[in-house]
Symmetry: C2
C-alpha cells in the first residue's frame, strides 16, 4: 500500500533527536503527545481518529516512538508511519466512550510494563483533545510517576520549518491563492453565500499543478455586512446584497501544512472609511513584513504594525499573528509564538506566521492578511493574491 510520506527518514530522525534534546533540557524521561499535529510531525501518522484518545510516546532512551490508539486505527499507523509493528499498540474497542473505563487505563499499563512507571512524564496539559478526564486516568494509573505539563515542547520544536516543510508551505500558499481567486470570481450580488463556499472547498481539494489539497483545520469563514464586525461566523444561504462588505478567511492545506489568508471584498462603491481602513491595513502589513527578519522579536514586529495603525487613528486589541505549519482541526495556529506585546520570541529564518491583520470596528471590519516565512530579506509571502480592498462594482 502506497501512502507516500511527505518526508524522508532523516527528517523524522532529526525531529526526534531535537525533541529528545529538549526533553533532556526540561527533565523529562517520557512525553505523551496527544495533539494530532505533534503525532503526525513525530511519526507521519495521519487519519481522522483524533476524536478518540490516542497518543505518540517518546522516551529519551529510545530511537523510535510508540503509537498508541484505538485497535481499529492501528492499521492506519501501519500504513502511514514507518514504525515497527511492536511500537504500534491498539487499545480495546469497548473502551471507546466507556462511561467508567478509559483508553488511557491501558496506556498506563503499557507505560508500567515498559518500566516507565516512575518516570518523569511530560504531558500536553492544554492540547485540544487532552481532556480533564483523560488526565485523571493517567494520574490515577501512574501513581509513582512525576506527571507535569510539557508546555508544548513538541509544538515549540515545530516552530522553525525545514526546507522540505517550506516546500509544502509554499505549495499550500499556491493552492490558497488560487482558492481565494476562485472565491472572489464567484462573489457577486445575488449569489448565495454557500455557493461561494462550495467553490472554495472544491478549489482547496483540487489543488494546483497536480498538487492536491487536504482538509483545513478551520472551515472557510465568510462574513457579510454587519457580520464583518466579528471573525468566526460561517455561511448561510442568504444572497449577497448590493453595496456590502464581505470578508473571507480561508486556508489551503498541503499534506496538512497550512497557508491561511483573509481578504475583504466590497460589492459596489466602498465608502471612504472602509477604503481608508483597508489601505492602512495593507500599509501596516507591508511595513511589518519588512521588519520580520531573523533577530527581531515577535513583539517588535507587532509594534511596527500597531504604530502604522495608531498613526491613522486605529488600534487592534488582539494579537496580529501566530505561528503556522502542520495542523489538524480545530485550529491552524501552532499555539506557540504570537505577534503581540509581551512575546519576546526571537524570529529565525524558516519560522512561518499568519499575519492576521483583521481590524474589527464597532459596525464593520476589514482584513488583508498574509501567511509568510521569515527570511533574511523580511517576511516572504506564501500567497500572491492581490493585496488591497477588492472592489466588485
Amino acid at each position: 500500500m502506497n501512502y507516500r510520506k511527505p518526508f524522508d527518514a532523516a527528517e523524522y530522525a532529526r525531529r526526534l533527536s531535537d525533541v529528545r534534546r529538549r526533553m533532556d533540557a526540561s527533565g523529562f524521561d517520557l512525553i505523551v503527545c496527544q495533539d494530532p499535529a505533534n503525532m503526525c510531525w513525530l511519526t507521519g501518522f495521519d487519519g481522522w481518529s483524533f476524536y478518540t484518545p490516542q497518543a505518540v510516546l517518546v522516551h529519551r532512551d529510545d530511537d523510535v516512538p510508540i503509537w498508541f490508539g484505538r485497535a481499529q486505527d492501528a492499521k492506519s499507523a501501519h500504513f502511514t508511519t514507518d514504525l515497527p509493528a511492536e511500537n504500534i499498540i491498539g487499545y480495546s474497542e469497548p473502551l471507546v466512550h466507556h462511561p467508567v473505563d478509559h483508553p488511557f487505563d491501558e496506556l498506563c499499563d503499557l507505560i508500567v510494563r515498559r518500566g516507565w512507571g516512575s518516570a518523569r512524564i511530560g504531558i500536553e496539559l492544554d492540547a485540544h483533545y487532552y481532556t480533564a478526564r483523560a488526565h485523571q486516568h493517567l494520574v490515577r494509573g501512574l501513581p509513582n510517576a512525576a506527571l507535569s505539563d510539557n508546555a508544548g515542547l513538541v509544538n515549540w520544536a515545530r516552530l522553525v520549518k525545514s526546507e522540505a516543510e517550506l516546500v509544502l508551505m509554499r505549495e499550500a500558499g499556491q493552492i490558497c491563492s488560487r482558492t481565494m481567486n476562485r472565491a472572489v470570481a464567484k462573489i457577486a450580488p445575488g449569489v448565495p453565500q454557500h455557493e461561494v463556499i462550495a467553490e472554495v472547498y472544491h478549489a482547496q481539494i483540487t489543488g494546483v499543478n497536480g498538487k492536491h489539497g487536504d482538509y483545513t483545520s478551520l472551515c472557510p469563514l465568510i462574513q457579510v455586512g454587519e457580520g464583518t464586525s466579528t471573525p468566526h461566523l460561517t455561511w448561510t444561504d442568504e444572497p449577497l446584497p448590493n453595496d456590502t462588505l464581505v470578508m473571507m478567511e480561508i486556508a489551503a492545506a498541503r499534506r496538512h501544512y497550512h497557508a491561511p489568508l483573509t481578504r475583504t471584498i466590497h460589492l459596489g462603491k466602498p465608502k471612504p472609511d472602509i477604503q481608508k481602513l483597508a489601505s492602512v491595513i495593507v500599509e501596516g502589513v507591508d511595513t511589518a513584513l519588512d521588519a520580520a527578519r531573523p533577530g527581531a522579536t515577535c513583539e517588535a514586529v507587532e509594534a511596527v504594525w500597531q504604530k502604522v495603525l495608531n498613526r491613522n487613528g486605529y488600534r487592534k486589541e488582539s494579537r496580529v499573528g501566530y505561528s503556522i505549519g502542520l495542523n489538524y482541526p480545530p485550529d491552524w495556529g501552532e499555539r506557540t509564538a504570537s505577534l503581540r506585546p509581551g512575546d519576546e520570541t526571537v524570529l529565525e529564518a524558516g519560522m512561518c506566521f499568519h499575519f492576521q491583520s483583521g481590524v474589527w470596528l464597532d459596525d464593520f471590519g476589514a482584513a488583508v492578511s498574509e501567511p509568510f516565512v521569515v527570511t533574511d530579506r523580511g517576511g516572504e509571502r506564501l500567497c500572491d493574491t492581490s493585496r488591497e480592498l477588492i472592489v466588485i462594482d
Copy 2:
C-alpha cells in the same frame, strides 16, 4: 442582521427546562458546558470559535443561560442567539494562548461575582475541548465550589429529537444521499482520489432543493484496496486502480445536524468473498433496523445484527452504532448511547443513530451503513442511496 435561527424560542425554553430538571435530579446548581454542540443546542450559538476556551453556563434558578467566550467572538453570540446583552460575556484578548493565565480565570471571577462561588458545579470532564489545563484553572479559581463531572448531562438531554430537529435530520439525509450519489458517479478507474473528494465537498455545501449544507464534523473519508481494512484514512492523489475495493464514509450537515453514510464500491468484478460480506452486512442492517423500535435496548439491537453476522462466519468487535444529531468537529457522534453489548439504553421514538455496519477483516473491509430515526415501525432510514455493494464494471 438576519441569522435565521433553526428553532423558535419555545424549543430553546423546552430544552432549558429539561436540562434544569436533569440538574436538579443530579444535584447541580450550575453546569458549565464547553462542548460546542451543547452550547449551540442550549442557545443557538454558532461560529468556529471552539479552538479557544468558551462555555455556556446554566444555573438552576435562571431562565436564561450565560455565554462566555473570547471578546472577539461575543458579537457572534449577539448575532446567533437571543441572549440578552448582559448574558454575553467576553474575556480579555491577551488570555488567548497565554502561557500562565487562562480565560477560565475570568470565568471563575464571573461565577464568584454572580454569587455561585460555593455552588455544586457540573463540568463536562470529557468534552473534546475541555482540556486538563482548563480544568486546573477552574479548580484553582473556585476553591469553595463542589466541582464534579456532569457525565454528559446535556448530551443525554439531546438524545431524543424534537419534530423540528427531525426535519433537519431528514434534510441532512437528503443532502447526504445526493452527495454519495455524486461521489459514486465520479468514481472510475484512473480518477484520482482527491477529485472524488472535491466533488463530495461541493455537493455537501450546495445541498438539495434550496437547502444548503454546513461543514461536517469529520472530513469525507475514503479508503482504497488494502486501505479498506482500516476506517479513518483520508484521501491521496493516487488514481483509483482497476479491480479494487473503495469505501467511503461521508455525511451531510443541515444547520449542524448530521446524517452520516458509508458505502462500498467495487471497481471491476468483485470476488465472491467481498460480495458475500457486503450482502451479509445488508441483511444484518435490515434485520437490526426492523428491531430498532421504542422499548428495545441498544444492546438488543446489536445482538440482532451480530447474530446475522455470526451465522455467516463474521464478527464485528467494535460497536455497530452510536447516537447522532447536532454536532461539531471532531465527531458527529453524540457520545451517549451506543449500539453494543452492555448498553441498556432503552430506545424511544425520535432517537437517531448511525448504524455503522463496517466490518474490517484482515486485508479488506466493507460497510453499508445507515443513519436512522427510531419509530414505532422500526428504524426509518434518513438516506435513500441504494444499499448494496456498488459495482462499477
